[in-house]
């Protein structure tokens, strides 16, 4: 069982959390000027990284707050946890 460290509650089992997919995707600031292609990419296209992945999680069965995590999608090892709004930490092996 994977352990996830909620920035507010500390270490908990994976089963308490809901995965929220790729993190740091900003909603377009000028919706009216977006093309169909830009909207499509914003909604549907994801990095789908094999390797270091910055992603969102929610402590669904705990404090119910969203936060960010860094995970290696090959080993599933978590490398960092941080609160929403905090800058993404640099982790070793991150090529991006």
């Amino acid at each position: 069982m994977l352990t996830i460290k909620c920035p507010w509650c500390g270490d908990r089992d994976l089963t308490e959390f809901a995965a929220g997919g790729e993190g740091h995707i900003a909603r377009p600031l000028e919706p009216a000027t977006q093309s169909d292609a830009e909207w499509g990419d914003y909604i549907y296209t994801r990095k789908n990284t094999k390797g270091i992945h910055y992603e969102r999680w929610m402590h669904a069965q705990g404090c119910r707050r969203w936060f960010n995590a860094v995970r290696d999608t090959v080993s599933d090892e978590f490398l960092a946890f941080y609160k929403t709004g905090e800058p993404a930490p640099k982790v070793e092996g991150d090529g991006s």
Binding site: L2, G40, R46, N48, D76
Partner: protein
């Protein structure tokens, strides 16, 4: 160059039995890659191998290589629970999946290879009012598309599976049966297409990973691999769970995320269940292999990953509903478990498409449900590659649907696509 094979038959079996089965010829050659091919197919799963076979068989294009980074069928083809059906809601899906079922019906004869296609019937259960409406809507849509669908009462479901616990926590309210659905032998599909493609001159090259593309002025010229550079007139990419990685090499992104999907196999036992039963609501599906093992699957893992193990607590999510529906299996031991990396789109439909790179097409995004499509997918993808234009059945699955909004939304239709 063609490499004719001796025909498999009862006579070849007897003849080889006399020499203690030591005289069987290799099913395909393992040549070194040539410096260039007319068409390079990346990915030696069922879809890639079927594509190569139909290129050679139906379009006379035999200067073809299939490059596979591991071994044939070692991806999702050899990891799936082998459910075959075509009772999808939307016309576009019905067209491609039923095209595949039509090909499945003669595939063993076509390939001279027993793919063990077993149209034993595929039952979808309904557990609530919404489910009942969903199967009726889908069943009616299937009728309109000439696909068989029979609505069953709970009693009729019970007749098919006498030990089913109709009064379980989410009671069985009815079902829809596609009699032409069933299962097939996954490895045999890969091997059968490989053998038949090799006979027509296709080079099948295993342990050859594509690591990059040679692209000049937006046109693909070749591929870089762990076994050297290989020129290519056209490239067909059929890399399933690794499609995001291959697209990145080609310089674009796909509307696809890769999630593990797990399968479970029990100890073998006497024949007990002779249909495939799926339940989308409690999300478990089950069939029995010819070896007697129960083959069980459920929903995908909740987060993207390339680890072929799968997430641990999923075991309980899958086994729980199985035991609730079939208490008789509560003492059965599970022997094996594994994960495959499924390439999932938001509408749960594949992406068969031209790309921003000229002469490079992708056939990916089959996610948790592409095994059943293998013959049909290979057939229409080969036609698309040969002509340079998408085949009519493939055309609606182009990647621009995520920009136009013309999704083929099987996800909303049935919430499941295995």
């Amino acid at each position: 160059m063609a490499n004719p094979k001796s025909k498999y038959s009862i006579f070849s079996l007897v003849r080889n039995a006399l020499s203690y089965h030591e005289g069987w010829e290799a099913q395909w050659r393992s040549p070194d890659p040539k410096s260039a091919y007319d068409v390079v197919i990346i990915g030696g799963g069922g879809h890639g191998l079927a594509t190569a076979y139909y290129l050679a068989k139906e379009h006379g294009i035999t200067n073809v290589a299939v490059l596979e980074k591991g071994w044939l069928g070692g991806g999702n083809t050899g990891r799936n629970t082998t459910i075959v059906r075509s009772n999808y809601l939307w016309d576009e899906s019905a067209a491609i999946y039923d095209h595949a079922v039509n090909l499945w019906e003669n595939l063993s004869q076509e390939l001279n290879y027993n793919v063990m296609f077993s149209p034993r019937g595929l039952l979808h259960l309904a557990h609530n009012v919404h489910d009942m409406q969903e199967i009726q809507r889908r069943g009616n849509s299937n009728f309109m598309n000439g696909i068989d669908a029979e609505m069953l009462t709970p009693g009729q479901c019970q007749q098919l599976v006498p030990f089913m616990n109709l009064g379980c926590r989410y009671p069985v309210m009815g079902g829809v049966l596609q009699r032409r659905g069933g299962t097939a032998r996954h490895d045999a599909v890969a091997w059968g297409y490989a053998r038949a493609a090799d006979a027509l001159g296709v080079d099948i090259i295993q342990k050859c990973e594509v690591t990059g593309f040679d692209i000049e002025n937006g046109v693909v010229r070749g591929v870089q691999t762990t076994r050297g550079n290989i020129g290519a007139g056209k490239v067909g990419v059929v890399t399933a769970g690794h499609s995001g990685v291959t697209a990145e090499m080609a310089g674009f992104r796909l509307p696809i995320e890769s999630f593990p999907l797990q399968a479970f196999v029990s100890e073998p036992m006497k024949p007990v269940i002779d249909v495939v039963v799926m339940s989308n609501t409690v999300h478990a599906y089950i069939s029995q292999s010819d070896k007697g093992e129960l083959v069980i699957g459920g929903s995908g893992d909740p987060y993207i990953s390339y680890s072929q193990r799968g997430c641990f607590d999923q075991v309980e999510h899958v086994v729980g509903p199985v035991i609730e529906l079939y208490p008789i299996f509560s003492r059965v031991r599970m022997m094996r478990q594994w994960g495959g990396i499924t390439d999932v789109t938001i509408d749960r439909s594949p992406v068969i498409t031209k790309t921003p790179v000229e002469n490079m097409m992708f056939n990916v995004g089959w996610g948790t449900g592409g095994f059943k499509a293998t013959p049909g997918s290979g057939h229409v993808f080969a036609a698309s590659l040969a002509k340079g234009e998408m085949h009519d059945i493939a055309a609606p699955f182009a990647m621009d649907r995520f920009h136009t909004g013309a999704l083929i939304d099987e996800a909303a239709a049935a919430a499941v696509a295995h």
